[in-house]
């Protein structure tokens, strides 16, 4: 990716100071990417300067259509593909459009793999946009691609891939996929079970949170041993300006780099065609009405690039896409001049169109702009609370996931339209799919610095050092609700790789702790046995409360409880910073509760020393005004170390 390494403080060049520097960086961290495959010849997957493949590696590069072991090298060290579940449930693989191998035609897997562990490539850009030096977050990491997504991805194939990745010996697993909504308990979800098995094998597992935002309870992949990643913007945008016939101007986004569109008539809905014309569906637009004009299209039903294709084939000169909610300007590559507007501008355009006899507009394209207020959480990013495990805040963290430039297959168009004959080396796309591999790559970076850290320790380091103020010093904004983002949108905050490599304290969790957590959820022995075969919960575990899990955040639920009830949770922190250090607690108290921490000071005398504290949350009986949720934080402070845990109280 370009820009995100700089935005994340990783710096952009090999050898510069920052988390990428240091003689203790190992180059043998292996990232398993479970996705749509990989384009092995891409320059991002060259292996210049890499040492031989680690001897411990058991993976292979499987033969398949246009893929053989010779496609692998010291960067791409594994490539497997899984389609049994997809075919068994009626899926078809069209040999003319899809490779029955790990080779990627979708582009998604190539993009995510390069984001996590791609090599350094100078002058990377899309049509000159987002130009810069592209690198993966841990550019010396090895990559193993596990292709599970064809036109669809099935849980059977994903489980098979994850099990194989565990056996192969990956260190990090990144999965930018999932269900639309999550309503099944953890013991019935095989992605969750396989993630636990991976965790138990010492593998850090990150999943995307989903793109079903901004509604509450939409976050998926929420088990506590999973790092669940939300998506937010960077300080870079791709600006287009629309000027309406009445002189009003609005800023939107576009990846179009051609000449400006002069003032042209705009058409919409019935003035553009038949049923479906408001969404610019294929075949709905009347060429007689559309030719040479700018067509307004509402978002939804089909991809935006497909709307652009429909407008172009009907003879339209340009497309203006409206957003129903939020100010996300995450765009797609189009086959004609385009502009994508946020909800406020969209409403103004419709008002103008409704009140004007012969509406017109012109569009200019400004290209890449830097310096925006950022990060801001994307409206599309799925939100908590966590439906399955309400005692754990989800998502856990946010990372760049809007307008991310990364590697792209040589035979796939940037718009992903068959009619588009353009080919690019890099493409810009958006989603929690794009933020997830950022975090996975950073986890690989931390793993390379701290070989002995458990996946939970790495997760804790990433979460407790995440920041909540943007580059202008304001709370990170929420593009959906025009206010600051809550922990149900960004979890602990925005990932900060530099700080995560040296977090001071970590909240460690073992596989046994997670089993106790499952027992505390009152899962039956047979349900817990899905994770640990033959396990029987002890009476002590059954008496535990889920909130006692040593998680680096606090979700407190007063739902169906008396308002003045008290919850007390125990936490244990391990000193990984300065041997002799004293941490003092600082609490930002959520509305409607009182918070007591005991002790208020933790004095460590040596490294790896563990100290415990208790935190009590008591509902204020006089509280009648707080509805829904309130938020705060608990921070342990020592010198430059700030070990922060968000608190979410739900009523």
């Amino acid at each position: 990716t370009t820009r995100s390494p700089l935005f994340l403080g990783l710096t952009g060049m090999k050898g510069e100071k920052g988390p990428w520097s240091g003689s203790n960086l190992h180059s043998d961290v292996i990232i398993g990417v479970v996705d749509s495959g990989i384009w092995p010849e891409h320059v991002s997957f060259q292996d210049h300067g890499l040492s031989p493949v680690p001897e411990r590696w058991k993976g292979v590069c499987e033969n398949g259509t246009r893929f053989s072991p010779s496609n692998c090298n010291k960067k791409l060290i594994g490539a497997r593909y899984f389609y049994g579940g997809y075919i068994a449930d009626g899926g078809k693989i069209n040999d003319k459009e899809e490779y029955k191998s790990a080779r990627d035609v979708s582009g998604h897997g190539t993009h995510t793999a390069s984001t996590a562990g791609g090599d350094v490539v100078e002058n990377a850009n899309l049509f000159g946009l987002a130009n810069g030096t592209a690198t993966g977050m841990r550019y010396t990491a090895r990559i193993a691609a596990y292709k599970v997504c064809w036109p669809g991805c099935t849980s059977v194939d994903i489980l098979a891939a994850m099990v194989k990745a565990i056996e192969d010996g990956v260190d990090v697993l990144t999965l930018s996929l999932g269900s639309e909504s999550e309503a099944v308990p953890y013991w019935q979800d095989y992605l969750v079970i396989a993630s636990y098995l991976a965790f138990k094998s010492g593998i850090f597992v990150a999943f995307s949170a989903g793109n079903s935002g901004p509604d509450a309870y939409t976050v998926v992949n929420t088990a506590p041993w999973i790092m669940t990643v939300a998506a937010s913007t960077m300080d870079r945008s791709f600006v287009a300006i629309i000027k309406l016939g009445n002189g009003e101007t609005f800023e939107g986004s576009s990846f179009y780099t051609g000449k400006a569109l002069k003032e042209l008539p705009i058409v919409y809905g019935k003035t553009a065609g038949n049923l479906g014309a408001e969404y610019c569906l294929s075949g709905s637009l009347d060429p007689k009405l559309v030719k040479g004009k700018i067509v307004i299209c509402e978002q939804g039903i089909v991809r935006r690039a497909e709307k652009g294709e429909a407008v172009k084939s009907a003879g339209g000169a340009g497309i203006l896409i409206l957003s129903p909610e939020g100010e996300d300007l995450a765009n797609e590559v189009h086959v004609l001049p385009d502009i994508f507007l946020g909800a406020i501008a969209s409403k103004a355009v419709i008002k103008y169109w409704n009140t004007t006899k012969a509406p017109t507009a012109s569009i200019v394209f400004k290209g890449t702009m830097y310096g925006n207020q950022a990060p801001k959480v994307a409206a599309f990013s799925s939100r908590g609370p966590n439906l399955v495990g309400p005692d754990v805040i989800k998502p856990d963290i946010t990372a760049p996931g809007v307008d991310i430039l990364a590697a792209w297959p040589a035979e796939t168009s940037p718009s992903r339209l068959k009619s588009d004959k353009r080919r690019v080396l890099f493409n810009i796309i958006s989603g929690t799919s794009m933020s997830c591999p950022h975090v996975s790559g950073i986890a690989a970076l931390i793993k390379s610095k701290h070989k002995d850290w458990s996946p939970a320790a790495i997760k804790s380091a990433l979460m407790t050092t995440a920041y909540t103020l943007d580059n202008k010093g304001k709370p990170i904004a929420d593009l959906a609700f025009y206010n600051s983002a809550s922990p149900f949108a960004i979890g602990s905050g925005h990932v900060d790789p530099m700080k995560a490599t040296d977090p001071g304290l970590i909240y460690n969790i073992t596989a046994e702790d997670y089993i106790s957590y499952l027992c505390s959820l009152h899962y039956t022995d047979s349900q817990v046995s899905m994770f640990e075969e033959g396990y029987q919960c002890t009476p002590t575990e059954l008496r535990m409360q889920p909130g006692d899990l040593n998680y680096p955040s606090f979700a407190v639920n007063f739902k169906q409880k008396a308002r003045n009830v008290m919850f007390t949770y125990k936490r244990t922190v391990t000193n990984v910073g300065i041997p002799k250090s004293t941490y003092k607690v600082s609490v930002e108290v959520p509305k409607g509760v009182s918070v007591i921490v005991s002790p208020k000071v933790l004095s460590f005398t040596e490294l790896n020393e563990e100290l415990s504290y208790e935190v009590s949350f008591t509902g204020l009986s006089r509280n009648k005004t707080v509805a829904g949720s309130s938020f705060g934080s608990l921070v342990w402070v020592s010198g430059n170390y700030r070990v922060r845990s968000p608190i979410a109280v739900s009523w």
Binding site: D89, L197, S433
Partner: protein, 93 residues
Amino acid sequence: ASADEQTYIVRMDKTRITNTYSSLVSSTKPWHQAVLDSLIDVSSMEATPPELLYSYETALSGFAAKLSSKQLESLKNMDGFMSAVPNKMLSLH
């Protein structure tokens, strides 16, 4: 028959399976296949025998297979059966 079939991830207690059904398991036939083959009597009236898609040995004991509802019921009655979760379609994010 096709409408009656579904793909499942099946978990089984390997120790109990191999103990209880030792006669089914041989050096040439993995226990997963032996279990599915034992369902053939039930499936003889049906269009397709159970289809083994993946077998799991190390991280967990089980397999993925395409089963009819009758085959699933027979499987559930076997000593050592733990769970059968239907395959589901997911999407890239």
